[in-house]
Symmetry: C2
Subunit: 549 residues, 2 copies
Amino acid sequence: MKKSALQKARANYQPKLPIVLTGAVKAVEGKPTTSVADQDEIKKLFPNTYGLPELKFEKNPNPGPGKPLNVGVILSGGQAPGGHNVICGLFDGIKKIHRDSRLFGFIMGPGGFVDHKYIELTAPIINEYRNTGGFDIIGSGRTKLEKKEQFDKGLEILKELDIKALVIIGGDDSNTNAAILAEYYKEINAGVQVIGCPKTIDGDLKNDLIETSFGFDTATKVYSEVIGNIERDCNSAKKYWHFIKLMGRSASHIALECGLQTQPNVCIISEEVEAKNMTLQDVVDNIANVVARRAEDGNNFGTVLIPEGLIEFIPAVKKLIAELNDFLAANAAEFAAVAPAQQRTFIIEHLSKENAEVYASLPEGVARQLTLDRDPHGNVQVSLIETEKLLSEMVGKRLAKMKEEGKYNGKFSALHHFFGYEGRCADPSNFDADYCYALGYNAAQLINSGVTGYMSSVRNLVKPSVQWIAGGIPITMMMNMERRNGELKPVIQKALVDLNGRPFKKFAEMRDNWALNTCYVYPGPIQYFGPAEVCDQPSITLQYEHSAK
Amino acid sequence: MKKSALQKARANYQPKLPIVLTGAVKAVEGKPTTSVADQDEIKKLFPNTYGLPELKFEKNPNPGPGKPLNVGVILSGGQAPGGHNVICGLFDGIKKIHRDSRLFGFIMGPGGFVDHKYIELTAPIINEYRNTGGFDIIGSGRTKLEKKEQFDKGLEILKELDIKALVIIGGDDSNTNAAILAEYYKEINAGVQVIGCPKTIDGDLKNDLIETSFGFDTATKVYSEVIGNIERDCNSAKKYWHFIKLMGRSASHIALECGLQTQPNVCIISEEVEAKNMTLQDVVDNIANVVARRAEDGNNFGTVLIPEGLIEFIPAVKKLIAELNDFLAANAAEFAAVAPAQQRTFIIEHLSKENAEVYASLPEGVARQLTLDRDPHGNVQVSLIETEKLLSEMVGKRLAKMKEEGKYNGKFSALHHFFGYEGRCADPSNFDADYCYALGYNAAQLINSGVTGYMSSVRNLVKPSVQWIAGGIPITMMMNMERRNGELKPVIQKALVDLNGRPFKKFAEMRDNWALNTCYVYPGPIQYFGPAEVCDQPSITLQYEHSAK
């Protein structure tokens, strides 16, 4: 593997551990916990792992001798910067407990666990991946670990390798399944602990004790770098409106953080669109009004940030998609027989009046995407919809109408961008490098404490990393019951953007100024070697949420 | 203007000047020059500025007293990282010569010069923009400065402000026009010198004495950062082929440099496609073969770099576009009357057999783009063609056929990216920050030497910046005669990728290995504060071209 100059230099970075984890620790129990909602149901489903106490690590002045630990690790779901450092921290943590400890990595995600594909992660391998981006050390996958047969099959290889603990690095779904697996192994006395680690660039796996998921910091910094560069281009050429879609399927944390970093003219927050029951046309009109107001000042340029999940948060579109899914599933053959040129009319004639109107208002291309590009279950593939083009096309039409009415007299020329894959595997920022390493190292301590069904929790994150607090929280504490594919299931509650939280409120205070005046901020690329105020700042979201409350 | 932490820290960076420019200099004349071709014609067109000698600055132990210089500056054409530092260097250079020197910036490019829109660039303004990306200090524009009336109109404001020299920062076209302007002002004894500076991220303005244009280094580093991140994602998820189009309209220097930096599976070089007289299908087949060979090893993922200008370098497509332009210009009304569903057939029936076949082979969407999206002159807007989608669609079809024939048995799922605006206004790398500052500072010395029609030349660029050589070369030296809009015109010869040059040859040696094996390199983001081997490396293209010959 040929390495870049930066990779070579960065390999020597020593992540800064919370001071408490630099020596032997003891787990101090806090009070028993309850789930965030539906306590009775969750308790019934997790009789062995519900209600456990929060844990906090403290220095242990009289540690006993350590025992070797054999541990397995799985990367689950989409990539996030810092995953390698979780594994490196875990490795160093179990080796510190006992030099004969061993770490096994399952290949290409949960599928490797079920299919018994693994490698032993030895020091030479680990050292190749310190402080690097990507999940390529063992690969990741999207197989859902949720069936008893999978659990039993996986247990065989754990027994074979004498693995006493499994660490699952994943998002809300993967950690939900980690909790179910922990409960099952406890129930059957399998003798295997299960520990989760909070991963996702989307930033929607968080609460009071999990202040942020790892990868969010780095990914949003990469996106903010390129958004800032585009803003500077925009403000130099002064002739384009840039419509920039940002990854982050459900929640708009990424768009909000990038908005706070770069101060664009418009930043849409899906949660607000839903809360205000806005239509697609409302969203379009809002953008068009900003374009028109800027044009009055002679500024025929701007930037618009769009969260990937927007379209599903617009109540009217959500209803339309639901009816379309049902209608097309029930009338697949009939629809397939309709000539392409007639399909739109056919759909409009068969939908309810309300949804037919919404459908008719969509541009041709998007309307086609809604009926043609369907996943294997027959559902619309919303992620394939190019929302950035949809919005700019509709804004263009709206502006043409405003021009006829004498309400707009500018030029509107749009360019489109989508950022996602650019940030998921970036080299972790100092924050994520430290945070991930601490999460992994801390997971080793949780294993050593004998607990199961816990998530590694490192907090106090707006402080310097040596002051961070380390411990664990029962995963069941984060759960509630939600309907999934028609069934009520216990799941970790997703953290959407809180419209009463400080990050959104701060944004809402400033955005009118950003819209009309050009207030762009250019964060530039992530720096690893410079002054602390450049290299070590956590995300603005985290700073607003946790400092100066 | 709210500044990011990096901007604040970076403002203090002091660009490193070539040692010769740190004191008083004298211009030493080399031998007289000739144009690269068409010497008689160029000499006739530039009777006052042709054949001037190369200049090289040397230390001047006995400098006379400096005189105040009033200088005007214009940013012309697309943005490139470091433009602000050229202006800062120019400012510091003329101030060093005499503290009463003044700098005036014309607003939004050559248009501001003609329309008399300007600001005086004083120290407080200059200091706000040191080491920053963008052209927003005075803006840029694409007005072509080529008519006598424009020259005369501009001269009025130069006289009014007592400006004795004009610095034009631009690409090949803008510097061509700078030479014409220099010749004209000399001819009419206007008393105004004109100096050019070599700007363009495309890297196609270079020769022995202009080793690279500024901005190329930074822009390719930004693109390589995100390409590397995508490659790491690609190699972690192992399920997508990423088709990445890169800005750089004509030449493929950007694709080649990014290829050398990141070692993708496929990197297309337009100049090679043209030289080998390849068809679009040849290009597609080459990619499909790499996809199939990787699939045999179980690797259903990869990355493909595509230069923006590719489509125009494919001889067959170039011919098709030429005939389409002529045909549609001559038959606009008739074509407009054809129903959309019949347009494709209509075109095929009316083109020559050879071009009709090429047209018929194109996917529907691209065929439509070729006939519908036309610029005000009636020409196809080639830059709007989504080559990355065109290629992946055709590769998909080819693979389907290979599957039928039993020659391919993999999965092919493609994702698309286009990078351009992300890099044009990035904060300049240390290389570009130094190079641009030196170009501007050096331009001040050229002005002080009394010359006109010269381009600022700073060379020996693979050495540390203190060892760089500073001087000037007559712009006419870079010219030849080319047909533009039907007329033979004197223009600076574009430097396309040299298929016999070391950068391409090195790439060609390694690419088969990159195709089959996964050899990705992850350069990471530009660093400003770290070790020299991370922060101060010039582009690989420059290193191959000028070191260890």
